[in-house]
């Protein structure tokens, strides 16, 4: 449940921080789905094992692409090739956009470090 809520909160965060054309621009939708799959824990090693998807080297990215495409197809009446093309076009940018965490929060340790960086942001940006 935490993972599902986190996934949806990523969409809510994107809705609040940017002009996202959810219904008229499939690239915008694709970007948010890539971020949600990447940052929510959807594609953790264990979750993929439970789905009987076995992979190690860079498998996280394969999972993010696949789940982003599935999510787009679940809410838009478009064919798979269009969804795949949209994900491919935005993947490089959106996979590396880790806001608001600054990193992929794999577990509580990473989340704690991300929160520490957020609390420290004034000191950080005023001293670089």
């Amino acid at each position: 449940m935490n993972r599902v809520v986190t996934h949806e909160l990523i969409h809510a965060f994107d809705h609040c921080r940017a002009h996202v054309n959810w219904f008229t621009n499939v690239r915008h939708l694709a970007c948010s789905e890539v971020r949600a799959a990447n940052l929510s824990g959807d594609c953790s090693f264990l979750n993929e094992i439970f789905r009987l998807h076995f992979g190690l080297k860079q498998h996280h990215q394969t999972c993010v692409r696949d789940r982003a495409i599935r999510s787009i197809l679940a809410v838009r009446n478009i064919n798979k090739e269009v969804a795949q093309k949209a994900v491919d076009e935005v993947f490089e940018s959106c996979f590396n956009d880790h806001e608001p965490f600054g990193r992929i929060p794999h577990n509580k340790t990473y989340a704690r470090y991300a929160h520490r960086d957020f609390q420290n942001r004034d000191r950080y940006y005023s001293n670089i």
Partner: protein, 105 residues
């Protein structure tokens, strides 16, 4: 605050040590390999920790320069990919309501 009077390291030295130790951990190695397909590079955190400690002990200008350059490089790396969408100045007023299809963006 640019380099000069009143400057202090962007992060406390304990934060550099914690990041370096996390980076070196077996768990992080496996997660990084799973995500990026390569081993993580932890040397910069070690160098930053050394610079932070050197600044704390001797107020070294070279340590200050090194830390600033390192953190600026991190910020550049995080921002090098252009955004797909235009950023907002503030959230939409109706952010909490169901999305209206006739009023996108």
């Amino acid at each position: 605050m640019a380099e000069g009077e009143g400057w202090r390291p962007p992060r406390p030295c304990e934060a550099y040590r914690a990041e370096w130790e996390l980076c070196r951990s077996a768990g992080h190695f496996l997660r990084h390999y799973y995500v990026h397909g390569e081993r993580p590079a932890c040397g910069q955190w070690r160098r930053d920790l050394a610079s932070c400690r050197e600044w704390e002990e001797r107020r070294s200008a070279e340590a200050q320069r090194s830390l600033c350059e390192s953190e600026r490089a991190r910020v550049r790396a995080a921002r090098k990919h252009g955004l797909v969408w235009a950023p907002r100045q503030s959230p939409p007023e109706d952010w909490h309501l169901p999305l209206p299809e006739d009023k996108d963006g």
